[in-house]
């Protein structure tokens, strides 16, 4: 399907991204520029950049899709995504910046003085980075197919190329302004359509074409509707529903409640007017239960698990942490986080509203299971004609801003870690690493089948919460942490989450038998990681690093006392810069 407006807007976003990156990367020369933008990013710009980087495809498209499918229970995702920053601010932000580290593995080495722990965490950073990048690139592919007839890999490759060119030109220096710009673009791209659609909605007496949300019944089709199923789906109905399977078929079968209907890919389903909308097997069937949060015990525990994973997961995401290293000092890192809380809270009001509207206007997405497309499809379904196309163009531009911003942050992080830990850490090495790191997820995105956007992102949060979060919290506040304890905790937490991922994907292919704690493993894996870290640390008390007091002083002493030391300059800076920013002489 062609939408010339959307194509133009997406092209514009890519051009502006490229231009801003090109402008700001002109002065990027040294490793210090590429890794942490010379630590000169002020709190307001950094807050916008962090929000821009953080609002990924999962937030921009995924949250509305989840609200469409799961209703009130899905509201916990935006809450958790935001609350994670509060935890980050309370326990991590300022001390992390004062450590003077330039990557997450570097912080761990600065605190615990172990090279093997550093290597281990390097691989975890690479793994989390690629896992997080995959849905961004696949999302770009899907979004592009929605606005022009092109194979899905075109979008993935396009985004990878734009991002890689920017990052190679200037690293962190190049992407800071780009990400800040993309936050405001994304806010605009959801806020404007939401306002217009809300006006349309209230103009039509507060009921969408598929019935108002106040009806306890499931949404229904207003006219004869054809739904083409592209991926395998299991459907359920709440009431007897007539349906014709196959386009040419004249015979109407009736689906009954309580049975799962497996649909082969490539099937076309034709629903007569007034038929109730069936739902993919894990969605909420009728509006009454869609409106109510937390009805069953497993939903209750799943919600708590999600809260825990997102609360601790944000602080463990390496691409979020690396942005905090770009602040000038610890105090501005903390101020940055306060502003991030404001910016995220502002943004998340809109996907929720769009998700609720989409339940009333595009119920066919519930049948195909492609709920992530809700943000892109609602404007066209609610407002016919050019205005609808224009609004779609605006949301499509926002979606691409989301892919670009998150992918560039991840690319800088993973390339930085590889360049400094596996290569020599020169600017040239950073560029080589970027090329390599961009190629791997792009290949995977083209080859692997597409999963639910928010599912794999949810797993990345659980993984980050069970690996890096305990190390950061304990490393900053607990003197008796040892590198052996840290290693054991990281392996336990990471191993448990990976086991859950594997079991989950096996269960998805063999009849969905996985209980809730395999889908949301945070409730068990996070405490387990903390516990193992503490117990092993206490058992290996002789290994507490000798300089622990000096490190603690550096992490917690207020900035004006000048105990902060910049590890980037110490390792990569030239002699003159090392003398200038040596002991106690950090840049204000």
């Amino acid at each position: 399907m062609w939408n010339p407006w959307a194509l133009t807007s997406v092209g514009l976003v890519m051009l502006v991204t490229f231009y801003l990156g090109h402008r700001t990367s002109r002065f990027a020369r040294s490793t210090h520029d590429f890794l942490v933008a010379r630590r000169t990013v002020r709190s307001r710009r950094n807050a916008a950049a962090i929000s821009g980087e953080y609002l990924s495809a999962a937030s921009f498209l995924g949250v509305a899709g989840l609200v469409l499918k799961d209703g009130a229970d899905a509201l916990w995702y935006p809450i958790g995504f935001t609350a994670g920053y509060l935890a980050l601010m309370l326990f991590v932000a300022a001390p992390l910046r004062r450590s003077g580290a330039y990557t997450l593995p570097d912080f761990l080495e600065a605190r615990l003085g172990s090279v093997s722990l550093r290597t281990m965490s390097t691989w975890f950073v690479v793994f989390i980075g690629v896992l997080y990048m995959l849905p961004q690139l696949q999302g770009a592919g899907i979004a592009l197919t929605a606005i022009m007839p092109a194979p899905a890999w075109v979008g993935s490759v396009l985004v990878t190329v734009v991002v890689a060119v920017n990052v190679m030109a200037g690293g962190m220096r190049a992407i800071t302004l780009v990400q800040a710009f993309q936050y405001w673009l994304k806010l605009f791209a959801l806020a404007v359509p939401t306002f217009v659609l809300a006006v349309v909605f209230f103009g039509s007496d507060g009921a969408g074409s598929a019935g108002s949300l106040g009806d306890p019944a499931p949404p229904r089709f207003t006219e004869e509707t054809r739904v083409a199923i592209r991926t395998e789906a299991t459907l359920r109905v709440g009431e007897p529903t007539p349906v014709r399977i196959g386009d040419g078929n004249r015979e109407t079968t009736v689906w009954l409640p309580g049975t799962d209907y497996d649909i082969e890919p490539g099937t076309t389903l034709v629903f007569p007017a007034d038929a109730k909308v069936p739902v993919v097997s894990d969605g909420e069937l009728d509006n009454a239960s869609w409106l109510r949060p937390t009805e069953t015990a497993s939903e209750l525990l799943g919600t708590y698990s999600l809260i825990l994973a997102t609360f601790f997961g944000t602080m463990g995401l390496p691409h979020v942490l690396v942005r905090f290293y770009t602040n000038p000092d610890g105090r501005s890192a903390r101020r940055t986080t306060v502003q991030v809380l404001l910016l995220l809270g502002l943004f998340y009001l809109f996907p929720v509203m769009i998700g609720a509207l989409s339940r009333m206007y595009v119920p066919q997405l519930l049948v195909t299971g492609n709920t992530d497309a809700a943000v892109l499809e609602v404007p066209g379904a609610m407002v016919p004609g050019v205005l609808g196309q224009l609004l779609t163009a605006v949301t499509a531009a926002g979606a691409f801003a989301a892919f670009l911003a998150t992918a560039s942050g991840l690319l800088v992080t993973v390339a930085g870690v590889i360049a400094t830990d596996l290569l020599a850490g020169k600017a040239r090495d950073f560029r080589t690493a970027t090329l390599f790191v961009a190629a791997v997820p792009a290949l995977l995105a083209v080859l692997l089948p597409v999963e639910d956007l928010s599912l794999s992102v949810g797993m990345s949060f659980a993984l980050a919460a069970s690996t890096f979060a305990p190390l950061l919290v304990l490393g900053i506040w607990w003197r008796r942490l040892t590198w052996l304890g840290a290693m054991a905790g990281m392996c336990t937490g990471g191993g448990l989450v990976l086991a859950a991922v594997v079991l989950n994907s096996i269960s998805a292919r063999t009849g969905a038998w996985a209980p809730w704690f395999l889908e949301q493993p945070g409730l068990f894996t996070v405490p387990a990681a903390f516990l193992v870290t503490i117990v092993v640390s206490l058992g290996t008390a002789r290994r507490v690093p000798e300089d622990v007091n000096a490190v603690m002083l550096r992490l917690h002493a207020p900035d004006p006392l000048g105990f902060m030391r910049d590890r980037t300059v110490a390792r990569f800076g030239r002699a003159e810069a090392r003398a200038r920013t040596g002991r106690g002489r950090h840049r204000k």
Binding site: A83, L90, I307, R331, A550, L553, A557, P558
Partner: protein, 161 residues
């Protein structure tokens, strides 16, 4: 030559030790070849701030800083107090938020009637989950920021006096 000297002391003007002596300027050292081939853009001419005196630092504050740095028992005690109060504040505020947010799922599970309530036509749970948490989180963030900065200021004041 003199400019270089001032830069090397962070722009703080102290009497030039070569003043009045017939010192021949040392030859410029060979520039070290950088790994970057691209020529550096010409430096912008910027106004330079000249500080005419060191901020007065009393001997006692210097002693405190040295004690902190050398990890004497007194210095360790000081920084431990700061860490403890920051951690206590963080846990108190974090606990508050976890309690408030954590109560919501339990409330709607154990008191289902609560989910039927409406406020101007919108179900109450949707307002409580979709809108209310964000001002709460931002407010707590602001509050913590103020408290943490106050603790740090108190600490610096104590060290300087």
């Amino acid at each position: 030559m003199t400019d270089d000297f001032y830069r090397s002391v962070d722009g703080i003007r102290v009497p030039d030790p070569t003043l009045g002596k017939n010192v021949r300027p040392e030859p410029e050292p060979e520039p070290v070849p950088d790994e970057q081939v691209a020529p550096e853009p010409p430096p912008k001419i910027r106004r330079k701030r000249v500080v005419l005196a060191e901020p007065s630092r009393t001997p006692s504050s210097l002693r405190a800083r040295v004690e902190l740095e050398q990890q004497t028992s007194w210095g360790e005690l000081l920084i431990n107090d700061l860490i403890k109060i920051q951690l206590r504040t963080a846990i108190a505020l974090g606990g508050l938020v976890v309690l408030v947010l954590g109560a919501l799922p339990a409330l709607s599970y154990f008191v289902p009637a609560f989910t039927e309530l409406r406020f101007v036509g919108i179900p109450l749970p949707w307002l409580l989950l979709g809108v209310a948490p964000f001002p709460l989180l931002f407010g707590v963030g602001l509050w913590y920021n103020r408290l943490a900065e106050r603790h740090e200021r108190d600490f610096v004041d104590m060290i300087e006096n």
